[in-house]
């Protein structure tokens, strides 16, 4: 079994991966248009990992500053170059692709790569949502090495990294992208699909498509409660963004923009505060933490119902604040420490929605 994606599904898929991005994951618009052009009238099958055998899949996606993607456009050969490099280094041919990160634009990049390279796509990924760091790949959390892997950047430069842990890889990737084009395609080592999928989140893109379809099915005048119910989430509040505070914090070499968004609910006047990094991480209602990572926090424009990213939200926006259940893969106590609020330096116990 698998999920078939045709041209008319692309809109829903883009919205779906954006919602999984939880405010981060980069701008999906450009890759959405690229995917639409590659797909044309054809179709793409998202294969269930259980249905595929004898394939060596390589998780692939874009790393670095996704905002630079809009200025330094892809040349088109980056996916091929990274896949070729990792194949040559490992001596194993890549015969399938999967996503590094289902949330945001990396939900779409493996599909473009698969169309370009003519490879099948397995509907599994290493995050199930969007997360900022490489040590938050499910492979790393499950004890699987992330190396060897290959990086290729739009000017054509390719490097292969091996024999280093997730933190070391993070450093290598960051210094590489910082000194080249700002972003690069990362392809991990080709791995037998059974092993690759065992330590991955399954079915995220299918979920994204379902979320996108539910979003598309919403009536134009849907009430905030209707929206939450339609998307299978919980409404934290509806109101105006009172303040967006942003500041940089040094975090062991990697500086992420830390910030907070303050929304006052129109009805109850409850104060909703969302702590942000690259994604929306923690929501407090009247000072009480109610939802944290790895569950998904989504801020939608009240009028258009389009998701608003962390770097796009502004004071004065009229928004809905929603929580959607995060990937269940992370809900084990030994895994949640890697993606819970403490993993982002927020001294707060994870607050998860009731498992749906």
């Amino acid at each position: 079994m698998g999920t078939v994606i045709r041209e008319q599904d692309l809109g829903a898929l883009v919205v779906g991966v954006t919602l999984l991005g939880s405010g981060g994951g980069g701008d999906t618009g450009a890759f959405g248009r690229m995917l639409r052009r590659r797909l044309g009238a054809g179709e793409l099958v998202l294969r269930d990992a259980a249905d595929v055998t004898g394939v060596s899949v390589s998780p692939i996606g874009v790393v670095g500053a996704t905002s630079v993607l809009m200025e330094k456009l892809p040349g088109g050969g980056e996916f091929d170059a990274a896949v070729q490099a990792v194949s040559r280094w490992t001596g194993t041919e890549v015969t399938g692709l999967m996503s590094l990160e289902a949330g945001g634009l990396n939900g779409l990049t493996p599909l473009i790569a698969a169309l370009d390279l003519g490879l099948p796509v397995v509907d599994a990924d290493l995050m199930g949502r969007a997360l900022p760091r490489l040590d938050q790949f499910s492979w790393a959390v499950a004890g699987r090495s992330l190396t060897p892997c290959a990086l290729s950047e739009p000017s054509g430069q390719v490097i292969v990294v091996d024999n280093v842990d997730a933190a070391g890889l993070e450093r290598a990737v960051r210094s590489f992208v910082a000194h080249t084009g700002g972003w690069a395609v990362l392809a991990l080592a080709p791995t037998p699909v059974e092993a690759a999928a065992a330590d991955a989140v399954q079915g995220s893109l299918t979920r994204a498509l379902a979320l996108g379809r539910a979003h598309a099915a919403l009536e134009p005048g849907a009430t905030p409660a209707d929206v939450a119910e339609g998307l299978g989430g919980r409404l934290l509040g509806t109101g105006r963004v009172e303040e967006v505070a942003r500041h940089l914090i040094g975090d062991g070499g990697a500086a992420f923009g830390r910030g907070s968004v303050c929304v006052v609910d129109t009805g109850s006047r409850a104060v909703i505060r969302i702590e942000t990094e690259n994604e929306y991480l923690l929501a407090l209602v009247d000072g009480t933490p109610v939802v944290t990572t790895p569950d998904l926090l989504c801020v939608l424009d009240r009028r258009t119902l389009q998701p608003i990213a962390v770097d796009a939200i502004r004071s004065g926006d009229e928004v809905l604040v929603l929580a959607l259940p995060g990937p269940t893969w992370w809900r084990r106590p030994d895994r949640i420490t890697h993606v819970g609020p403490q993993a982002f330096g927020l001294a707060c116990a994870p607050q998860l929605m009731e498992a749906s």
């Binding site: 009172e242 303040e243 907070s260 104060v271 505060r273 000072g287 001294a347």
Partner: protein
């Protein structure tokens, strides 16, 4: 315990909390703070607080989300208010949340000190009291001899303004009270206090409190008043004790000052007395030099009279200050119910200078009337030691006239022109007017307006033609009237003495 709980507003104006700032305000005066509970970190969970202030010692980032969470927890635990280390403003979210749960949030660079102070005033009022009293006693021992230094010392100990007020609430020393507070204070205080009376507490509508303790000594009763901008019960209980300790010291300073004043005044008055009686002797001259009086040169005498009961010796400073403020170096001597003063110039002043000086003296009077109901006469410039007596005598006469003349601002200057005015003014006095009325009575109600005719006739140097022209009547009519006047009054208008008397009489106000 609860009756010791001060309101947040009162605490914010209290001395121990001067460096506490409001990060998120309370409605009205804010809650009553029943005590103070201290936490180390923002992430700590407070127990039930029951109106206590929650103090957090480590809170370096006021925009942290944990501040929001703490506000929420503190509110749930029933905190009266939250005090954070540091004075940076709150994030917008925390601000909105604090307003929503109505929890005032404060900031302070030294939260432990603020905690300690609140704990003391709410739990150990007797410690606050004994501490203040002991500090006052120790500070008084070191305080300088004068009154202002005693008041300043007290004010420093209490960290509150302290004023010495008269029975009318007027300021004798220290910072002045506001007009409204002065009225409220006077209304609350008894007219005749007793030495052992309990201190008075006046609660003002603004929420401030005045504590007044009577200072009984020589001279009129005055009040030592401390102003507390808000009610911190422990402080309100302690301040009367401190003031009661200070009051005798103030009384002593007042008595000493009074003694000094009286001694100086007597010295000056007796010396002036000698000067006014003829050419001064060698000894008198020497004493004048000792007092800094210049006997030679050109003197302008000034007499300042005061209506009502005025403490002439005590208020002399006001007079000297008024002259100083206008840039005049005048010798001021207490004399009778007012002051005699003179200004000495090295050379004879020109008439313009005399006029300018008179204008300045007028300004001095305007300053004085704010505190004393003063009337002023100024004499002519006179040379030499004996000139002092002459000019002061003129000034005295002028002052006597000025007293009844509100239309000139109760100010009269005897200069060349003024002398005629002086005479004229004299005709308006109570003694002359009845005489003038009596003199003119026979022609008063006669037909032909004889009083006016007489006045015009004398003004025109006894010219019948002029009189007729001025009055618009025929010369013969004028002649007939004059004859009639002489007949009715039984006087001869060619007699200079009688003519002068009638001329003066005709200048009395015709309406009288």
């Amino acid at each position: 315990m609860r009756d010791l709980a001060p309101s947040l507003a009162a605490m914010l104006s209290s001395p121990g909390w001067t460096n506490v700032v409001v990060l998120s305000a309370a409605a009205d005066d804010g809650p009553r703070l029943t005590g103070s509970h201290v936490l180390l970190e923002v992430s700590a969970h407070p127990e039930s607080l029951d109106g206590q202030l929650l103090v957090v010692l480590l809170a370096d980032d006021h925009t942290d989300w944990r501040i929001d969470a703490l506000i929420s927890r503190a509110s749930a635990a029933g905190a009266g208010a939250l005090l954070l280390a540091g004075v940076e403003p709150l994030g917008r979210g925390a601000q909105l949340l604090a307003e929503r749960v109505q929890l005032p949030v404060l900031g302070c660079s030294d939260p432990l000190a603020a905690h300690e102070y609140l704990r003391r005033v709410t739990a150990e009022p007797e410690v606050v009291r004994s501490d203040l009293v002991l500090r006052a006693v120790a500070a008084l021992r070191r305080a300088g001899g004068d009154l202002t230094s005693v008041l300043r010392t007290t004010s420093d100990v209490l960290e509150r303004p302290v004023t010495l007020a008269g029975a009318d609430g007027g300021t004798l020393a220290g910072g002045p009270l506001e007009a409204g507070e002065r009225t409220a204070l006077v209304a609350a205080l008894p007219r005749v206090p007793v030495a052992w009376a309990a201190p008075y507490r006046v609660d003002l509508p603004s929420g401030a409190v005045l504590i007044a303790v009577a200072v009984v000594g020589v001279g009129p009763v005055c009040w030592l008043v401390a102003r507390l901008p808000g009610v911190v019960p422990a402080e309100v209980a302690a301040v009367p004790d401190v003031l009661s300790v200070v009051a005798p010291a103030v009384g002593e300073r007042l008595a000493l000052r009074r003694l000094e004043l009286e001694r100086d005044a007597r010295q000056r008055t007796s010396l002036l007395g000698e000067l006014l009686h003829g050419e001064p002797s060698e000894a008198t001259r020497r004493r004048a030099v000792d007092l800094g009086w210049q006997l030679d040169g050109w003197h302008t005498g000034i007499r300042i009279g005061a209506e009502g009961q005025v403490d002439v010796a005590g208020r002399r400073t006001d007079v000297v200050e008024a002259f100083d403020a206008e840039g005049l170096r005048a010798v001021v001597v207490e004399q009778g119910d007012g002051w005699s003063a003179w200004i000495t110039a090295v050379r004879e002043p020109t008439s313009t200078e005399v006029q300018q000086q008179a204008a300045v003296i007028r300004r001095v009077q305007r300053r004085l009337v704010q505190t004393v109901d003063a009337y002023v006469g100024v004499g002519r410039v006179q040379p030499g030691p004996s000139g002092i007596a002459t000019t002061l005598a003129e000034a005295g006469d002028a002052a006597g006239l000025a007293r009844g003349r509100a239309e000139t601002g109760r100010f009269l200057h005897v200069d060349r022109l003024g002398l005629a005015q002086l005479l004229l003014a004299w005709t308006r006095t109570d003694t002359f007017q009845p005489a003038a009325q009596a003199l003119l009575a026979p022609i008063k109600d006669q037909p032909g307006d004889l009083v006016t005719t007489l006045a015009v006739y004398l003004d025109t140097e006894s010219s019948l033609a002029e009189t007729a022209a001025v009055l618009g009547i025929h010369r013969n009519t004028a002649a007939a009237r004059i004859t009639k006047i002489q007949h009715l009054l039984g006087v001869d208008l060619t007699n200079p003495d009688e003519r002068l008397a009638l001329h003066l009489a005709s200048r009395t106000s015709p309406t009288e």
